[in-house]
């Protein structure tokens, strides 16, 4: 039996690691990977809560999060490809022209 509290703690730690990855990396691809890390950490918390409560709703939420993650990855990577075609870079610091 996995303790609920430790599962949530691991999930929180993984979420924060994903957040750090999004904030400190400059490659758009690795930033997308950091987002995947965060979504997975949230999924882990959902599944642990579903196990704790004994209801499958949490697992279905994790399932929908996976759907959203797949859509996000497809569109995000397409944007990165379009960006690379125009600017020859995936460095987010070099494509800050929308920032004032």
């Amino acid at each position: 039996m996995v303790p609920f509290g430790s599962a949530l703690m691991v999930s929180a730690l993984l979420f924060v690691m994903g957040l750090v990855g999004v904030l400190i990396r400059r490659s758009a691809l690795v930033i997308l990977m950091g987002i995947e890390l965060m979504l997975n950490a949230a999924n882990l918390a959902f599944v642990a809560a579903a196990r704790h409560v004994g209801s499958m709703d949490g697992q279905l939420f994790a399932f929908f999060v996976m759907t959203v993650a797949a859509a996000e990855a497809a569109v995000g990577l397409a944007i990165v490809i379009a960006l690379f075609r125009r600017r020859r870079t995936t460095d987010v610091d070099q494509v800050s022209f929308l920032k004032w």
Binding site: V30, F63, T67, A74, A78, T90
Partner: protein, 168 residues
């Protein structure tokens, strides 16, 4: 400590280490491969938490499909690691680490309140299996299910539009 708990902690160490490689390594290919390992370790978490269907979906959809997409794009854009973008500057790094530590502290403080209510509830028959998931998906969650199908369609059209050749 039961065998399941031991496996959980071993898996937690693997998950944290692979996540560390993902956010710190300079080569995006290594990041992606480490992320595959991380997703598999999360799948093992799902198995330990009695979510057998999600365990299979996690490996097939995440570690299989999404990561192949990532690797394709990395190979397409960044051959031989040329022009690999590194990390942010020192001030941003320090601010990020401070904010991350603060967020972790807040979440750790919120934990004891969540743990109340004793041990885990008894599991109903077929918990986490595909038949139970399917029944819920097509009855109680029918509307979100249909919305998800529209979302995937929109994402597909969006990806096709973004990735098309320039007409001009």
């Amino acid at each position: 400590m039961s065998g399941r708990e031991l496996l959980f902690w071993a898996d937690a160490i693997v998950a944290v280490m692979t996540a560390g490689v993902v956010i710190l390594h300079r080569n995006p290919v290594v990041c992606a491969l480490s992320l595959v390992l991380h997703l598999c370790s999360v799948a093992l978490f799902f198995l330990l938490l009695d979510a057998t269907f999600l365990f299979a979906v996690q490996i097939i959809l995440y570690a299989g499909a999404i990561m192949v997409l990532f690797l394709f794009v990395i190979m397409l854009l960044d051959p031989a690691g040329e022009g690999v973008a590194g990390r942010a500057g020192k001030p941003q790094m320090a601010l990020t680490l401070a904010a991350a530590a603060a967020l972790l502290a807040v979440m750790a403080r919120a934990l004891p309140g969540l743990e109340k209510g004793g041990g885990a509830a008894a599991l109903p028959e077929g918990f986490g299996r595909i038949d139970g998931m399917g029944r819920l998906l097509f009855t109680e969650y029918l509307f979100p299910f249909e919305v998800a199908s529209v979302l995937l369609l929109v994402a597909m059209i969006g990806a096709l539009f973004m990735g098309r050749k320039e007409a001009d």
